[in-house]
């Protein structure tokens, strides 16, 4: 999507849901005044993603197939994809939220991960050898990332660390349902916000990348016990 297209997409969202004609979106996606040829010949499927994990997996496959350097960080590409999947990215309450969810905040990592598609894609790519270790930040539907994502995905040192992601997934994801456990997003009592705080403290003393998930788990205080099983 070009700059004119991005401007129109911003206007479309600003007036949503009062106005916001789906035909308008289709025009943005296809009209050469708003979107230009990316120089690759691959079809994007209009599929439904039950989770951020599924979205990340599909998008990783797309970008691997395209194999065009820089395309997976392209502002226009991610905005086009947001518009293409607008219907399923739109939350049930129709509140679209901040711009960074739809147009990636390039250059600002603390907001970049908030993009509803680029965020899951980046996390999936970082853990592509075993994506399920990062289920803590990939389990929810794409339109509702949730507080665990907010707490853990904004810190590069945490979200790229296999041991940290394994610990977070063990603590907060039900292994049977693969959904967040009750209370996992709590601000206290071993919730995700506390985990981020504790990890920030441990990061001052430990090389977190050198620790295994078992070693890291052993360093956590007792308040996390209720999530360990």
């Amino acid at each position: 999507m070009n700059n004119t297209g991005i401007d129109h997409f911003n206007q479309f969202r600003a007036s949503f849901p009062e106005s916001g004609d789906p035909v308008e979106l289709a025009v943005l996606l296809q009209d050469s005044a708003y979107s230009s040829d990316a120089g690759v010949d691959i079809e994007v499927d209009p599929m439904q993603f039950p989770s951020r994990l599924a979205a990340g997996e599909y998008l990783y496959g797309l970008f691997e197939t395209w194999a065009t350097p820089g395309l997976d960080t392209d502002l226009g590409m991610w905005t086009w994809l947001s518009a293409f999947y607008f219907e399923q990215l739109c939350p049930p309450n129709l509140r679209l939220g901040e711009d960074a969810r739809w147009v990636p905040a390039v250059g600002d990592f603390q907001k970049y991960y908030r993009h509803l598609l680029a965020g899951p894609y980046q996390i999936y790519r970082a853990h592509r050898d075993n994506p399920k270790r990062a289920l803590a930040v990939l389990a929810t539907p794409p339109h509702t990332p949730g507080d665990i994502v907010e707490q853990l995905a904004s810190r590069q040192e945490l979200v790229t660390n296999p041991a940290v992601m394994e610990v977070a997934t063990t603590l907060y994801i039900n292994p049977v349902t693969e959904l967040p456990k009750r209370g996992s997003a709590a601000r206290e009592n071993g919730g995700a916000r506390r985990l981020a705080d504790v990890l920030n403290q441990l990061d001052l003393t430990w090389d977190l990348y050198a620790l295994t998930s078992e070693q890291l788990m052993a360093l956590l205080p007792a308040e996390f016990d209720r999530f360990r099983s």
């Binding site: 700059n3 250059g107 590069q156 003393t205 430990w206």
Partner: protein, 253 residues
């Protein structure tokens, strides 16, 4: 008066004098080389392990550099996870191999690599930002101050040096940065070579007639000092003349 820092962790703080990294931006994928690694003065255990990490957003790579007694840092290392060189930062860690393993003994973070020609990044790097919507520019403080120019403007690179833009934007950029340092972060130390805030305070002090940074905690004293810096900055860089030239050019065109 310099601020005194207390390090409760016992971790040694490495400096830019200890480590130098060069990034080859032309290589595909980009690659880097550790061109200086001089850690002897820190008295670290001989078997302590050295690591260098490259990162940008959620892309991350880690390389072993041997031990304190047997460092193995020479040679080019490919950054295969990164599809472009822009914005890659580095950190170097020294960790204990045992008792307990993984303890952080020394570290330096946010290392900006040297360019192949030895050029260092300026005090105020200028970057394109496509997410600025209707703003022309903004100062970003994510890591250190960066002047973001709206990438949707044609010729965004040239804008940062255009006299009219310089005259109107840069004094306010300087005021924004100094206000952030002194009033928001309450940082008055200008002695720390590795800290961008100290570098900016030294830049401010380098202007004619500007004295020491006030040690007073009274905001009005700090605001007054910032205004003195602004006056001196505008005078030494001939801001009014720049604007006049820009204005008259516009009238004549």
């Amino acid at each position: 008066m310099p601020i005194r820092r207390i390090n409760f962790t016992g971790r040694r703080r490495l400096t830019k004098e200890d480590v130098e990294i060069r990034l080859d931006e032309d290589a595909r994928p980009p690659s880097f080389e550790v061109t200086r690694l001089s850690l002897q003065r820190h008295n670290l255990a001989e078997n302590a392990q050295i690591w260098v990490e490259a990162y940008r957003q959620s892309t991350y790579m880690r390389f072993p550099l041997g031990t304190i007694s047997q460092p193995t840092y020479t040679g080019s290392k490919s950054l295969g996870e990164f599809n472009s060189p822009e914005g890659i930062l580095f950190r170097v860690k020294v960790t204990s191999p045992s008792n307990p393993a993984g303890q952080l003994l020394a570290e330096i973070d946010k290392i900006r690599p040297e360019m192949p020609d030895g050029e260092r990044e300026s005090l105020l790097p200028v970057r394109r930002d496509d997410s600025l919507e209707h703003e022309v520019f903004r100062v970003d403080f994510e890591d250190r101050p960066v002047l973001l120019i709206n990438g949707r403007l044609s010729g965004w690179k040239e804008i940062s040096t255009e006299p009219g833009f310089v005259a109107l934007a840069y004094p306010n950029v300087l005021r924004t940065i100094l206000t952030r340092i002194l009033l928001v972060e309450e940082h008055i130390d200008d002695m720390d070579d590795d800290d961008w805030r100290s570098q900016w305070l030294r830049f401010a002090r380098s202007h004619p007639g500007i004295g020491e940074v006030p040690t007073s905690t009274d905001d009005s004293d700090l605001e007054q000092w910032i205004e003195q810096v602004l006056v001196a900055f505008c005078k030494s860089t001939q801001i009014r003349n720049k604007f006049s030239w820009h204005w008259n050019e516009g009238e004549n065109s």
